[in-house]
């Protein structure tokens, strides 16, 4: 009997706590915070070696992080930024994409209205990146880290908004 009462009280407290959190954070904002935190983690991951250069943690995690990020990037030395005396685990273009997405996620935390974009913008954001990839592949001009970074930044910031729109339109609550 006591156990049942304890359980009911626990559930009541849990519900109260959840309602309290829900009062502060709507579902939409929770999604945005989750995406922002995930991107922060991801960005710390690929720049871990540079951020914590010279530390024991950077030394131990180096081989494993390098292998993990090798799954998503070619990691060519000549196409990668060298920060704080250490190479990032992803190339300049990927760095741009992820930082662009992170910048958009930060903006989405403050700009709380629902985004609405036409698909055309996604295609437009791809164009500079595709032109740069094609031009460097066919040796029309030499690879530039800054150009790759910039085109990636533009694409990453736009693509994040599309993903956010898609998620929010489907997990929507209008309690904003």
């Amino acid at each position: 009997m006591e156990a049942v009462q304890g359980n009911t009280s626990f559930n009541k407290n849990k519900r109260l706590l959840l309602n309290l959190i829900a009062g502060f954070i709507s579902r939409k904002r929770a999604i945005r915070i989750f995406l922002f935190l995930s991107l922060v983690l991801w960005c710390i991951g690929f720049s871990f070696n540079s951020l914590f250069s010279g530390t024991v943690a950077a030394g131990i995690t180096y081989p494993f992080l390098k292998k993990i990020f090798h799954m998503v990037c070619h990691q060519l030395d000549e196409k990668t930024f060298n920060i704080n005396g250490a190479k990032l685990f992803v190339c300049a273009r990927c760095t741009g994409i992820y930082l662009g997405a992170l910048a958009s996620s930060i903006a989405s935390l403050f700009y709380i209205k629902r985004f609405s974009l036409r698909l055309k913008l996604l295609y437009i954001s791809m164009v500079p990146m595709l032109i740069d990839v094609a031009a460097t592949t066919f040796k029309i001009y030499d690879y530039s880290k800054m150009l790759a970074f910039t085109t990636g930044l533009f694409f990453g910031s736009v693509v994040f908004i599309y993903i956010l729109i898609a998620i929010e339109n489907n997990f929507m609550d209008d309690s904003y």
């Binding site: 090798h70 799954m71 998503v72």
Partner: protein, 169 residues
């Protein structure tokens, strides 16, 4: 769920895995391969079923996830197969460079432990063409990365299809 539902993720996952293994393609497509496979997978399913209904998020996540799983399984299998045939891979080739970087940190005992583990994996690959620890490692990291990127691709594919469906209607 019909068998047809697994066909697009299977085909796209296989395609993504093959493209991930080919070094030249990876140098300019980077992290785009698996998300594109996710987009293509959901698009193909939509085409196969000849439906004009919008795609739901659950379905998009599911397709992206399954594409990621298939990409993981095929990419790991191809990597293991190529490693077995060649008795070497990019991990073994990059180990001296990795060691040089890690030695730069002056970790002493920790360095020895880390390096002995990596060297054991490298030796297993060079001698037997297979390392269980290496295989488990790439299977795990492939699973995490590919499923996340596959899901992102699925969500993007859903946006793309739903916008087109809206325009057509």
């Amino acid at each position: 769920m019909s068998q047809n539902k697994y066909l697009p993720p299977l085909v796209c996952g296989f395609g993504a895995a093959v493209l991930t293994i080919v070094p030249g393609i990876k140098s300019f497509s980077c992290c785009m391969i698996v998300p594109l496979a996710g987009v293509l997978s959901i698009y193909l399913d939509h085409k196969i079923n000849k439906t004009s209904l919008p795609v739901g998020i659950k379905s998009a996540i599911w397709f992206g996830f399954i594409t990621g799983i298939f990409a993981t399984l095929f990419a790991t299998s191809l990597d293991v197969l190529l490693t077995y045939l060649a008795h070497t891979n990019d991990f073994v080739q990059a180990l001296p460079q990795t060691e040089a970087v890690v030695r730069h940190y002056k970790l002493n005992a920790m360095l020895d432990q880390t390096m002995s583990m990596l060297k054991q994996m490298s030796n297993d690959i060079t001698i037997n063409g297979f390392s269980a620890f290496y295989t488990a490692g790439i299977l795990f990291s492939n699973f995490i990365i590919n499923t996340i990127f596959g899901i992102l691709g699925g969500i993007l594919g859903m946006t793309f299809i739903n916008k087109r469906t809206k325009v057509q209607n």
